[in-house]
């Protein structure tokens, strides 16, 4: 009793303490430094809410909030509606080429969203290649700009957030539950609706939440596609680092509102989950269902169509990278000059990207998985706090966090600016929610009595976590690692503020080339990133598959 903590709470308390320490230092402290401006008057002395009244009183910002929420809700709903059947088909139906689909499904996340948006405009813009081709057939379509286009891009790029955890969850469903339902006279179809879906609901919700928050936070896509529709994250970005008038007070207001929205959504989700605690005792990966030929063909077409559609910007970039660019201008001739231009420069950015992504993925897993375990196992105020804090980074625009980092760690006891570690830490903080949410969704499905059995047999809670829980979570953990790795490799908004000198990663190369007149170099860099990130993804999925085979 030396800690004064009941012995069966020592592990969660220790994890929570370490987690809160990390997040306190690298999330809350920098944010506090950034946001304190929003509640201070112009002299920075007295506490005031005038900045909030001012922002919320302006129709422009109210419109920005309304647009953002509407787009977020629509994109989340559509993404979820597409991804859940997709996940079910991959987990339970005889669809050919599953490994390929899975590997390709994570690919949209490899491409930074500003590059996707660039490709989409080249294809579907007013003078886009596809647009002109369709027009030559007399087929017009509405503008890619505005809410419709933004929702389309979100759907096609963010669906893996729902897909990956939901597949893991479908595979973790205890077949005996379904057997029980069918034994009670339920048809297979009804069983899916009434038994299987409710069981995977926590994972679906966790994924949908990520999508929703990502739509709130993302500015790469609306930056290009919103034209002049005001969008929350874009306005926040401009207020923080607008070229003309950085306005930290107003920017802080938007940042705080963004965070409050996220916290609210999270609490609603947590309430919903706490009312429905499903634990199943997985002892068998559920079998592939036998279905008729037409249904199998339909499921196959469905899965492949989504994957391929989502990869259109992706293919476009690869194709563009082999075309001739004169300055910024595209000419439809084959050329390898872009790659020549790219590799004439240093390979250092590519190495940086790989190293940062790997370190960040490791760091996120080590921090996020234990936190995910604690928040789903330990119902208490501290766990709720930890959950909310650990999901907050998702609501914090990368730019905002990065500015907080610079303000907080450029002097004083902990100096990080100028080196590579600050990037890894910023990535780790930003991506911790991935690991936390995917881990907690899986832990929801692991019967707590397995851990109690292990403890009663003489393993300490920590050994139990490592020997029982982690092996059972492995599929979920690995998909979390893939997500983290891939999204770190494509991160831009924090990187651009924090990188220095030799520590420039690939996204910065792309961004700078695209902003300048080197679109060709940008597409070549994007293609290279695609190829290089594809390899570890494939390797990881092979690993996951082997692991799953060993469970059979």
């Amino acid at each position: 009793m030396k800690l004064g903590v009941p012995h069966n709470l020592r592990l969660p308390v220790a994890i929570a303490a370490l987690g809160l320490l990390f997040l306190g230092l690298f999330l809350l402290y920098p944010l506090f430094n950034v946001f304190s401006a929003s509640v201070l008057d112009a002299d920075g002395e007295r506490l005031t809410f005038a900045n909030y009244a001012k922002i919320l009183g302006r129709p422009f910002y109210r419109a920005a909030i309304a647009n953002t929420l509407a787009i977020g809700v629509a994109a989340t709903a559509i993404t979820t509606a597409l991804a859940v059947p997709f996940a079910f088909a991959l987990a339970r139906l005889p669809v050919p080429g599953k490994a390929a689909i899975l590997a390709m499904a994570a690919l949209p996340l490899v491409l930074p969203s500003f590059v996707s948006a660039y490709a989409i405009v080249l294809l579907l813009g007013r003078s886009g290649i596809v647009t002109q081709w369709l027009q030559s057939w007399g087929l017009g379509f509405g503008s890619i700009y505005g809410a419709g286009g933004i929702i389309l891009v979100y759907t096609l790029t963010l669906y893996p957030y729902v897909l990956l955890p939901t597949i893991a969850a479908f595979k973790a469903v205890d077949v005996s539950m379904e057997e029980a339902a069918q034994g009670l006279g339920s048809s297979p179809r009804r069983t899916v609706w009434t038994v299987t879906l409710p069981i995977v609901m926590p994972a679906v919700l966790a994924g949908a939440l990520l999508v929703f928050i990502e739509t709130l936070e993302n500015f790469g896509v609306p930056f290009v596609l919103a034209e002049d529709m005001p969008i929350f994250a874009v306005e926040a970005f401009k207020l923080f680092i607008g070229e003309t008038a950085p306005n930290p007070a107003s920017a802080g207001v938007l940042g705080v509102l963004l965070i409050l929205t996220t916290a609210l959504v999270l609490l609603v989700q947590r309430r919903f989950l706490s009312a429905r605690r499903f634990a199943t005792n997985t002892r068998q990966a559920p079998p592939i269902l036998r279905i008729g030929r037409p249904l199998q063909v339909a499921a196959t077409i469905y899965c492949w169509a989504i994957v391929i559609l989502a990869l259109v910007p992706f293919f476009a970039i690869v194709v563009l990278s082999f075309m001739e660019f004169r300055g910024p201008v595209l000419h439809p001739n084959f050329s390898l000059a872009n790659f020549g231009g790219l590799f004439d420069r240093s390979l250092r950015p590519l190495v940086n990207t790989l190293v940062f992504a790997t370190l960040a993925a490791a760091c996120v897993t080590l921090i996020g998985v234990p936190i995910g375990y604690v928040v789903s196992r330990w119902r208490s105020g501290v766990a709720t706090l930890l959950d909310v804090v650990a999901t907050l980074p998702f609501a914090v625009a990368g730019t905002v966090l990065a500015i907080g980092f610079v303000v907080s760690f450029n002097s004083g006891p902990l100096v990080l600016t100028g080196g590579p570690l600050i990037l890894v830490l910023a990535y780790s903080v930003r991506k911790v929610p991935f690991a936390v949410r995917s881990a907690s969704a899986i832990v929801h499905q692991i019967d707590a009595s397995l851990e109690e059995a292990s403890i009663s047999l003489g393993r300490s809670p920590f050994q139990t976590l490592m020997r029982v829980v982690v092996p059972l979570m492995l599929g979920g953990i690995l998909s979390g690692v893939v997500l983290t790795w891939v999204t770190v490799a494509s991160e831009l908004s924090a990187t651009v503020v924090l990188y220095s000198g030799p520590w420039r990663p690939m996204t910065v190369v792309m961004f700078q080339a695209l902003e300048g007149s080197g679109a060709g170099i940008a597409t070549a860099a994007a293609s290279t990133l695609i190829v290089v990130t594809l390899l570890p993804i494939i390797l990881l999925y092979r690993l996951v598959r082997r692991y799953e085979l060993s469970m059979l």
Binding site: P222, V234, N410, G516
Partner: protein
């Protein structure tokens, strides 16, 4: 006790700060695009042996970074930011009298030598000649008020672009100032597509998304050189030449090398090299534009208007709010 040791050890152990003092280098915060950066930094190194470590970002990001690092500057040079950003961040700069002062008109440098102008961006209208035949093109800012251009003119949000801010405020003055000027500007906004970043405007016109775009001069010859159907319209009712410049950051790690760069970047031959590749109009008054590619007219042939840059910079926060309202009302 333990905390002190920990705190002391961290910067050494974790930073990975390049500690090779003997290597000749200079850290340049640049808001210029990568084409210009790559060109200049390679040539600079070839000539001086000084390695450039660039930090490239939008000028807003760079300024924020500069201010955040005030206590311990990590950069030596800030380059490619507007006159008003140079003015507002003066306190962070080290005075240095460049060797090129004589060839640079006084209006393009700081009296205390805290910064010096490198090049001028004329505020112009870009035209895509494939979407819009030359004959039908507007000739002046006033022509842009015609309702037939509704939704056809790309512009950058002045909250994120110094040149866009200058354009709006210049037009307010040109069109009578005060309420009268703002009323006409509000009319112009009805025709504009206000995009988030200036690069979207010239990409948009160059790639054929918009027939017209309010942009900067260099984009026209740059895209035309690449083969895009892009032409620059110099408004007949006059325009403003926005300056970009360079400054040495006070207390940076390689101040001596920084000064070498300031001298280099404004040298006549270097300015000509830059103009040939990226069409930046130099502040130097001794470069003959007619002998160089790009077809850029000498400044004397362009109608310029008086523009109170410092005055509008002072009123910026309030003015930007006003622009937001105009923008919102025009939707």
């Amino acid at each position: 006790m333990l905390r002190r040791t920990f705190a002391g050890a961290l910067p050494l152990a974790m930073l990975g700060l390049p500690a090779r003092a003997q290597a000749k280098k200079v850290v340049i915060y640049t808001a210029n695009d990568s084409t210009l950066n790559d060109l200049v930094f390679a040539a600079f190194k070839a000539e001086t042996g000084i390695e450039v470590e660039p930090v490239a970002a939008g000028s807003g990001v760079l300024a924020r970074r500069l201010q955040a690092e005030k206590g311990r500057p990590l950069g030596d040079i800030i380059w490619g930011i507007s006159r008003s950003l140079l003015q507002t961040n003066k306190a962070l700069f080290e005075p240095y009298a460049s060797k090129n002062i004589a060839a640079t008109p006084a209006e393009y440098r700081d009296p205390d030598n805290l910064w010096i102008g490198n090049n001028l961006h004329l505020l112009i209208v870009l035209q895509n000649t494939k979407l819009l035949p030359e004959a039908e093109a507007p000739k002046s800012w006033a022509d842009l008020l015609d309702p037939k251009w509704k939704g056809k003119i790309a512009f950058t949000d002045p909250a994120n672009s110094g040149s866009a801010y200058s354009t709006v405020t210049m037009l307010v003055d040109m069109w009578g100032g005060g309420d009268a000027g703002w009323k006409k500007v509000a009319g112009l906004f009805k025709n504009l597509k206000v995009l988030n970043r200036s690069s979207l405007v010239f990409q948009g016109v160059g790639n054929g998304e918009y027939p017209l775009g309010i942009s900067l001069e260099y984009a026209g010859p740059m895209w035309a050189k690449g083969g895009a159907p892009v032409k620059v319209i110099y408004p007949s009712d006059g325009t403003f030449a926005a300056m970009e410049g360079v400054a040495v950051i006070k207390g940076g790690p390689n101040t001596d090398n920084a000064k070498v760069f300031v001298d280099y970047i404004n040298r006549k031959d270097v300015r000509e090299m830059i103009l040939k590749a990226t069409f930046r109009r130099p502040t130097r008054n001794d470069v003959d534009l007619t002998a160089l590619p790009g077809g850029m007219p000498p400044l004397s042939q362009v109608k310029l208007v008086n523009y109170d840059e410092d005055g509008w910079t002072e009123k910026r926060t309030k003015t930007l709010e006003q622009i937001k309202d105009v923008l919102q009302d025009s939707r």
